[in-house]
């Protein structure tokens, strides 16, 4: 799928590309771990719901932290950032 992940610091260095990949993965985890069709009960084997929800929360916080790092140090106005 032609996926777009955009932040306000799209640079082309290797490190930034790695960070972008990380953000993409976090965005996938954020969805796949506790959203979609959720079937629970005795008929399915699944990692415990509570674990998935907990992981989902960890992923969310982690994605915010990654975004912060991607954005770089002190918060500045969006218009000041290279795009």
């Amino acid at each position: 799928m032609d996926r777009q992940i955009k932040t306000l610091q799209d640079k082309n260095s290797y490190l930034d590309l790695r960070k972008q990949e990380r953000v993409t993965l976090l965005e996938i985890l954020d969805r796949a771990l506790d959203k979609g069709v959720v079937i629970s009960g005795d008929i399915v084997i699944s990692v415990a719901d509570v674990d998935l929800v907990y992981l989902g929360l960890k992923v969310l916080l982690s994605s915010v932290e990654t975004m912060e790092r991607l954005r770089g140090a002190p918060m500045a106005g969006a218009q000041e950032e290279p795009t």
Binding site: T7, L8, L25, L33, V44, M67, T83
Partner: protein
Amino acid sequence: MKIYAYGIIDSKDTIDETIFGLEGASVYNISYRDIGMVVSELRQKLQEITDANVLKHEEVIEALMMKSTVLPIRFSTIFYTKEDLLSTMLFYYQDFIDNLARLRNKVEFGIKVIWPADTIKQRIVDVYHKAEHNPERIDLPIPFKEGSNVSISTESPAKTFVKEKFHEHIIEKEFQEEADRCIQVVDDYFNRIACEKKLKRLQTESLLLNASYLVDKDRQNEFKQAFEQLKNAPSDLKFLFSGPWPCYNFVTLTKKSSSVDYFMV
């Protein structure tokens, strides 16, 4: 042998193309009436949550999306037997049909908005400090107005405590209101284009908004353009825009799954 599930599709037909799922196993469709659940066989007892496995799960769903409407199933949903799987299809059939119809030709976009929470709070505090010294010029809540009948003396520790608490309350209230105003501005860019939305506000203090929008495939470019406009507007906000995704956030099942309900069907 267990059965690992990826998604529900609006087709009972065999999948034409070759798609490999977890453990490199072939992905196939198990039909139930006019729909199907796409699965692969799994040798391991329990699938670990690894980055590679989650990526594979997503990859299979995206491959299916090329030709079908897909309800993505949550990662790590594994059936013991085909009979269990078919019982699930029977139990949720109407839910699946309703969701497939609602999500046909739709995709999901994600927008996370980060704002400088500390700076925003500091601004609010500054405004109130100024206001305390110039009560006539700024409309303040009564307890902040000097000389007012209900003003609180700073001499008593108890009263100081009450005043501080009230002060914190006012700042927090203003912070929340500012958050609502900013979210409204962001949402206005997308609301007119999206079919449905899910907005989660302030999941952390910095994460002003974690939004998912359901968008008609034909309006994807319009949606992306709206984001470009938002991005280029002067503000203190930072954005993470992602998509198109399978509609993870918009699957709504009305039947609650539990082993008790299950066997009553």
